[in-house]
Structure formats: structure tokens, C-alpha cells
């Protein structure tokens, strides 16, 4: 988290235009909260208290309200994550096809340590998530925005190599 981040507002220039396009889709500003948080996370990598305050400001709601919403949805990061954010589905249909082994392989191959922790080089955060909605292609894994299917522990080293 660089010092610069503290001083540059998120919603300027093209990002502000993007915000206006989104605002036009809803009858009130509050409804634009989820998409606005998505932009903020894309720009900042995570949603800090400062970011929540900034989002609150542009949408005319309180920072506490924004926090209430951020904490409800699991995809908004409330702390910084690695450059590669890996979500492995471990719900029942994936579990019976060996998803736990996939998690283990990712943790070992990336040096991330524990699920939810970030590797020391800042490159990897591995998390277990509930159903990704691709049960027939077990185990599905989201690496950042890339949706990978049929991942097995054997395929993990190659995936890690690709994103390293």
C-alpha cells in the first residue's frame, strides 16, 4: 500500500465517468453501492476504511452503512490480498471429488501457509470458498478473474507457474 494511494482519490477522470454511467442505471445513488465497491476494489486491490469513506461520500451514504454492506459480501476484501487471489471451491460436490487436495497443493506450491494468509512475497492468497457453481467440473478454481475447471492437485504446479 503505497503512500500515493492515500492522496489520490479513486473517482477522478475515467473512473468518475464510469461511476456516472453506473449511477444512471439506478433510481437512487445507494443502489449503485455494489458496482461502486467493485470499482474501488479493482482500483485499490481491497476495501480499506478510507476507501469505504470515499465510496460513502460519492454515494451520499454514511461510511458505517458502507461497512455494513462490505462485511456482508465475501468477495470484497477487507484486508490486502496477494497479487494472485485464488478461490478454491470445497463445498460437498467438490469435496467428494478431492477439493481439499487442491487447496493443499496450492498452499504448498505457493508458500502461502494457511488458507486466508498471504505468502511472504505478496504474490499469493489462497482461500477456500463455498460453491462456485461449477460442480460438474470439480474442482473449479478462480485465480483472480480466471475461472479454471477440473483442477486436480497434479495440475496445480503448472497453474502456479503460469501466474507466478
Amino acid at each position: 500500500m503505497t503512500v500515493l494511494e492515500d492522496y489520490l482519490p479513486i473517482f477522478t477522470g475515467k473512473t468518475l465517468e464510469e461511476l456516472h454511467t453506473i449511477l444512471a442505471r439506478y433510481p437512487n445513488k445507494q443502489a449503485a453501492l455494489l458496482p461502486t465497491l467493485w470499482i474501488a476494489q479493482r482500483e485499490r486491490g481491497w476495501i480499506s476504511d478510507r476507501t469505504m469513506a470515499e465510496v460513502a461520500e460519492v454515494l451520499g451514504v454514511t461510511p458505517a452503512y458502507v461497512k455494513g454492506v462490505v462485511t456482508f459480501y465475501t468477495m470484497y476484501h477487507q484486508h490486502p490480498v496477494g497479487k494472485n487471489f485464488v478461490q478454491v471451491c470445497t463445498t460437498s460436490p467438490c469435496n467428494i471429488r478431492g477439493a481439499e487436495g487442491v487447496v493443499k497443493a496450492f498452499l504448498e506450491q505457493t508458500g502461502a501457509g494457511d488458507a486466508g494468509a498471504t505468502s511472504q512475497d505478496g504474490k499469493w492468497t489462497i482461500v477456500e470458498v463455498e460453491c462456485l457453481g461449477a460442480c460438474g467440473f470439480a474442482t473449479p478454481v478462480l485465480v483472480n478473474d480466471d475461472f479454471l475447471e477440473n483442477v486436480t492437485p497434479e495440475k496445480v504446479p503448472e497453474i502456479v507457474k503460469k501466474y507466478r
Binding site: Q30, W38, M75, T90, S92, P93, E130, F147
Partner: protein, 425 residues
């Protein structure tokens, strides 16, 4: 059909006809395949008449509840005084279900066409398509398709927007979904008022599932009588349905069959049954929220709304999870309970506490720390979790626990007697 996409001879391919055909994703490719003709036809028809056709067809909601679609549409105010909304539920997150994802990935225009027809029927001027946050690929494809459709003027004066979820199973519940679009926590609302009276932003709203809407264009062009004729068992269940099959089968995937089709044939003939040398033990036929079936019940089950109920479960979303004899049912039920504990929105006590305690008790049974009365305690908890909350997430957690203890009691008792133990991962 499994993957790669090649229909099995026993499938009735309607919705999945163009799965795997990348050209069908484009506007040009879709119109070349007869796309948007149903919309043109619907726009020339009075909204009430369109609703009547869908009513007549017998189409029922494919998201899980199975509510008659035409009837739902007819609940919208007859006299239009306020703005009307249509919400498309593409928050597919019921464990075991992955059909809407395939519809959006391969036939985004089928969904958009059905959406436009529904918006016409309920006289909505704004549509929100709520896509779960994890569906990055379907999102990109839908965004592209929507841009093309807008450029071609498909929607006329109707505005269609995509809205991205952010990781919350409960947002698939219709009132939670509306709250999420309004920029709120995804807490379900108390009904009534029902969405048709006071829904999104307090205005009349209809919410339909992706698969339901994708079926609508076919009903318009081929007629209600044709759709009604697609029926193998109970006349109250008509049309085709995509079944997502996963777990212990050799060929998992989405298979489209006429309602009333035998579950046995789906699992054994189409999906190849369990891996070699193993046998079927249990099956969850309609997504993780419905009761578990034993092997005998599974093999006798017909896949329609009534047929599955007859065997003691529900058709739900059509997510078929298959367990073979290698599956530890106690562990699997704990894993499902853990899902609901994680996904509870926590506003109702029975659900917040019930899902968490159910998971804790199952975990201690698995760890060899179970107490003799734990099974009764679980059943007592489940009873208090059923029919007592704002939405059915709590009931959904109770369903596999109750049916699991009833049907696989021996496995639970083996843990309690110290004859069995797993290492928790």
C-alpha cells in the same frame, strides 16, 4: 449433455441445442438460428395474451420453487400506475447446480430474448440481470451479448442492466436479491408484501430464473400445446429441464430431459453411473437444500415436481449430487451444514444459531467426541429450524440432516460408538 457437448440419444434437446457452438453466442449467429423471432411475435401480441400462452404451457419456475411462471406474471398489477421491474435471477449458487451458467455461457441471447418477452408481458421498463460475482466468464459473455442486442435495438424502450453480486448464496432468494440490487445487505424480506405488489424499490416486480426465461421463446414460437406435450409423467410438470449432475459419476455435466424422466436412467445411462467398481449409495436430486434419497429411492424416482416429492424429496433446481459407497455421509452432511452456517444472513435466530450449532455438533461427532443424545439434539434443532424463519435457508440446512440421520443412522451411530473416526481437515 456432458462435456464435450454431444447430446445423449435419450436427451430432449431444446435449451441446450447450441451448447458448445460458439457462433450461437453472437447476435448474428443467434438470428441466423432463428433467434429473436419469438420476440418479434410476442411484441405483436397483447401482454395479457403472452402471459396466457405461458400459463397454458404449464411452464414452472426452474430456480427451485417450481411456481407456475404465467401465473406469477399475472400477479403484476392489471392497471399500470407505477413503474414495473423485472429481475433475472442469475445468482446460481445452490450447491450441485450449474445450468444457468451454461445457458449464459453458450446462449446469452436466448436469455436476453426470454427477458425481453417477459418484460413485455409484465410491462416492465427496467430489467436487472443479477449475476453472481464469481461468474466472471458468463458476465463477460452476457455483457458482450447485451451490447450487441442494444445496438440492434432488440429491447426498444426497455432498459436492461447487468448487476454483479459479490459472494452471498442468500442473494439467490428473491427478496434478498432485490435488497442486494438496492445496495443493501442481502437480507431476505418478510412476505407479504410479495414482489408483484411491492418489490424492487418498493415497486411491482417479477423475478424469474435464467432457465425459466430461456424456455419462453420456444413456447412463443412453437406454442403452448407443444410445450405441454413434453411430459412423461405428471401433467402438472411440462417441458424440458436441464439437470446438472455432479459428484460420483463418470460423465458429469448438464443433461436436458423431458420432465418425468427416470432419475435412474440419467445417472446410469447418461452419466455412466459411479466410477468402476463402486456402487450408488445416495443422491440429492434438486440441489443441496432438498432431502437426500437412498439408492432404492433414487432408482425409483421420476424427475418431475410431483415425482420427486413422491420419493420424499424435491426437484428443486435440478442439481443432482451423486454419492457412491466411498462417501462418508456424516462428513458430507456436516460439509453441507457448514455451507449453510457460512451462508446464513444471520437475521433470524433459528437460522444463525441453528446452522452453526448443527455444524458444531456434526463436527464433534466426526471427531469422536459425540454424545449419545447428539442425534436427538440434531433432530430437535432441525425441527426448530423448519418453517420458522423469514426465508428457507434454515429449512435447507435441516433437510439433509433430518433425511441423513433417518436414512444413514448406522453411520452416525458408528461414530458415536467410537467405531469410526475421521481426521478433520
Amino acid at each position: 449433455m456432458g462435456f464435450p457437448h454431444k447430446p445423449h440419444p435419450k436427451e430432449t434437446v431444446v435449451l441446450s441445442q447450441y451448447f458448445g457452438d460458439a457462433d450461437a453466442r453472437t447476435y448474428k449467429g443467434w438470428t441466423k438460428r432463428g433467434g429473436y423471432q419469438a420476440l418479434a411475435q410476442a411484441l405483436k401480441t397483447d401482454p395479457v395474451a403472452v402471459t396466457d400462452i405461458v400459463k397454458e404451457s404449464g411452464l414452472r419456475g426452474r430456480g427451485g420453487a417450481g411456481f407456475p411462471t404465467g401465473l406469477k406474471w399475472s400477479f403484476m398489477p392489471k392497471e399500470k400506475k407505477k413503474a414495473h421491474y423485472l429481475c433475472v435471477n442469475a445468482d446460481e449458487s445452490e450447491p450441485g447446480t450449474f445450468k444457468d451458467r451454461e445457458i449464459m455461457r453458450w446462449t446469452p441471447h436466448a436469455l436476453l430474448e426470454g427477458t425481453a418477452i417477459a418484460a413485455h408481458a409484465i410491462r416492465a421498463e427496467v430489467v436487472y440481470i443479477y449475476i453472481r460475482g464469481e461468474f466472471t466468464e458468463p458476465w463477460t459473455i452476457m455483457e458482450q451479448a447485451l451490447a450487441e442486442a442494444n445496438a440492434a435495438g432488440v429491447f426498444g424502450t426497455i432498459k436492461v442492466y447487468l448487476h454483479r453480486g459479490a459472494g452471498a448464496y442468500i442473494c439467490g432468494e428473491e427478496t434478498a436479491l432485490m435488497n442486494s440490487i438496492e445496495g443493501k445487505r442481502g437480507n431476505p424480506r418478510i412476505k407479504p408484501p410479495f414482489p408483484a405488489a411491492a418489490g424492487l424499490f418498493g415497486l411491482p416486480t417479477t423475478i424469474n430464473n435464467v432457465e425459466t426465461l430461456a424456455a419462453v421463446p420456444h413456447i412463443i414460437t412453437r406454442g403452448a400445446a407443444w410445450y405441454k406435450s413434453l411430459c412423461l409423467s405428471n401433467p402438472k410438470s411440462t417441458g424440458t429441464k436441464l439437470f446438472s449432475v455432479c459428484g460420483h459419476v463418470q460423465r458429469p455435466g448438464n443433461y436436458e430431459v423431458t420432465l418425468g424422466f427416470p432419475l435412474k436412467d440419467l445417472i446410469y445411462d447418461m452419466c455412466g453411473g459411479p466410477p468402476a467398481g463402486r456402487t450408488l449409495k445416495a443422491c440429492i436430486p434438486g440441489g443441496s437444500s432438498v432431502p437426500i434419497l437412498t439408492r432404492e429411492e433414487t432408482e425409483a424416482c421420476l424427475l418431475d415436481y410431483e415425482g420427486v416429492v413422491e420419493r420424499g424429496s424435491m426437484l428443486g433446481s435440478g442439481g443432482v449430487i451423486v454419492f457412491d459407497d466411498s462417501a462418508d455421509m456424516v462428513y458430507q452432511i456436516m460439509r453441507l451444514a457448514k455451507f449453510y452456517a457460512h451462508e446464513s444472513c444471520a437475521q433470524c435466530t433459528q437460522c444463525r444459531e441453528g446452522t452453526a450449532w448443527t455444524t458444531k455438533i456434526l463436527e464433534r461427532i466426526l471427531a469422536g467426541q459425540g454424545k449419545p443424545k447428539d442425534l436427538d439434539l440434531l433432530l430437535d434443532l432441525a425441527e426448530n429450524m423448519t418453517g420458522k424463519t423469514i426465508c428457507v435457508l434454515s429449512d435447507s440446512c435441516a433437510a439433509p440432516v433430518v433425511s441423513g440421520i433417518k436414512k444413514f443412522r448406522g453411520e452416525f451411530e458408528a461414530y458415536l460408538a467410537g467405531k469410526r473416526q475421521v481426521v478433520m481437515v
